[in-house]
């Protein structure tokens, strides 16, 4: 197991964002975290990526009991927030993040070619379209060849073409994926397994098949 959560809870003051989250993820497994808005999907991935600490429960990442530097080195995170510096160029952004992951310049160049951004590499990120920013954000997340790629509603604000590009890219990605979405079709396309969250609790954990029926039966 590369990720294990047992009875994880997270409170913000009196508000309990996560009440009881239990699931695990095997190496190279693709898991969709599905749920309506406010169900706790983003909080769950923030706990896994180490952006916030759980209030209760047990968390294990790559065999470690806390999300330390070594665990973060094996992860990549893509979110609707691009995590990019708008006043730096695309190249400067990747170079900065590459320096944090000890990745060399050659790898950065490869990514720019691979993601079709080579000609625009010296443009400020603020001048990029939403789709281009998201592509760059994915390149940033993949710089370190992560063993776990976390995608938190990455299709938010993307046009159809950009979404298709993203799905194509993910289909060629061989490591483990946690993909949060409230879109049933996206969960079925990308992941073989789905964890359904409602009001901070896991209410379904199984194959990504007939999700519409399951979702309607449980959530609605």
């Amino acid at each position: 197991m590369i990720v294990r959560l047992e009875n994880v809870g997270k409170s913000f003051g009196r508000f309990k964002a996560l009440k009881d989250i239990t699931f695990s993820l095997k190496k190279n497994e693709r898991l969709a975290l599905l749920g309506p808005n406010g169900s706790g999907k983003t909080t769950t991935v923030k706990v896994i990526s180490g952006q916030i600490r759980p209030t209760k429960g047990y968390l294990e990442i790559f065999g470690r009991k806390k999300v330390d530097e070594s665990a973060r080195r094996k992860m990549g995170v893509v979110s609707h927030n691009t995590f990019l510096y708008e006043d730096l160029t695309a190249f400067e952004n990747l170079k900065f993040f590459a320096s944090l992951y000890d990745v060399d310049d050659e790898r950065i160049k490869e990514f720019f070619h691979e993601f079709g951004l080579w000609k625009r590499r010296h443009d400020l990120v603020r001048n990029y379209s939403r789709g281009m920013k998201q592509r760059l954000s994915i390149a940033r997340a993949l710089l370190n060849d992560p063993e776990l790629l976390i995608l938190d509603e990455p299709t938010t604000g993307l046009d159809v073409e950009s979404k298709n590009r993203l799905f194509e890219l993910l289909s060629n990605f061989n490591s483990a994926i946690i993909f949060t979405t409230h879109n049933l079709q996206e969960a079925e396309i990308i992941c073989e397994r789905t964890v359904l969250i409602k009001e901070g609790r896991v209410i379904y954990d199984g194959r990504s098949e007939n999700l519409e029926e399951i979702y309607r039966g449980i959530v609605e």
Binding site: G50, F83, Y85, L88, L100
Partner: protein
């Protein structure tokens, strides 16, 4: 060396947007002009007042900007220790502070016709005091980043904490200006001791301050 990457990235962003630099320089320049017009016999302390106001408004920006743009989360998910983030911000603020000194000190000396007996020592004391101010403000700004009222909260927290540094720097600077260096070790010890203690507190608390 990751802290250097953070500092270089911050400097590059700052020189592109010039949001903080423009504000600092304008404020510092206006303050000097204001004092020169209203005070007939300005004391060396006035120079430090320029740095207080400029620093209080400028040094916290390094962290607050990362919070506003959401890029602090990018640093949190990267394999970089919280202390590297803190040291990167301190180096960035120190670089901005040195630029401000280069800009302010000659203008101030010219406008107020202030010629210290021991110029090198006076500049060194100002730099040490400013560095202590940078360390204190950078360390404290981490503690308020989760607060919604962080921009208001920081100066309120900062002023009482940084006050001993200000008083000691003014004392030591006055001695360097007059050339009477007797007892200068005491205020210098306070500046160094205070900045070391605050840096230690910042180092020990940043992990808890950054992650909710």
């Amino acid at each position: 060396m990751k802290f250097l990457s953070i500092a270089i990235k911050d400097l590059r962003t700052e020189f592109r947007t010039k949001g903080t630099i423009n504000f600092l320089f304008l404020f510092a320049f206006l303050s000097i002009m204001l004092f020169s017009a209203t005070v007939s016999n300005p004391e060396p302390a006035l120079l430090w007042v320029v740095f207080i106001f400029a620093g209080m408004l400028g040094y916290s920006r390094a962290f607050l900007r990362e919070v506003e743009t959401g890029t602090l989360d990018a640093l949190k998910i990267s394999p970089v220790s919280p202390s590297s983030i803190l040291f990167g911000k301190i180096i960035y603020n120190a670089a901005i502070m040195l630029l401000l000194e280069v800009f302010v000190i000659p203008i101030f000396m010219a406008v107020f016709e202030l010629y210290p007996e021991n110029l090198i020592l006076a500049v060194l004391i100002l730099t040490a005091g400013n560095l202590a101010f940078v360390v204190v403000s950078s360390s404290l700004s981490v503690l308020v980043i989760k607060s919604r009222a962080r921009e208001l909260l920081l100066p309120i927290l900062l002023f009482p904490v940084v006050f001993p540094v200000i008083i000691s720097t003014v004392q030591a600077f006055s001695m360097a200006v007059s050339g009477n260096l007797e007892g200068i070790q005491a205020p210098i010890s306070v500046i160094l001791g205070f900045s070391t203690a605050t840096l230690a507190v910042g180092y020990l608390t940043i992990d808890y301050a950054l992650i909710e």
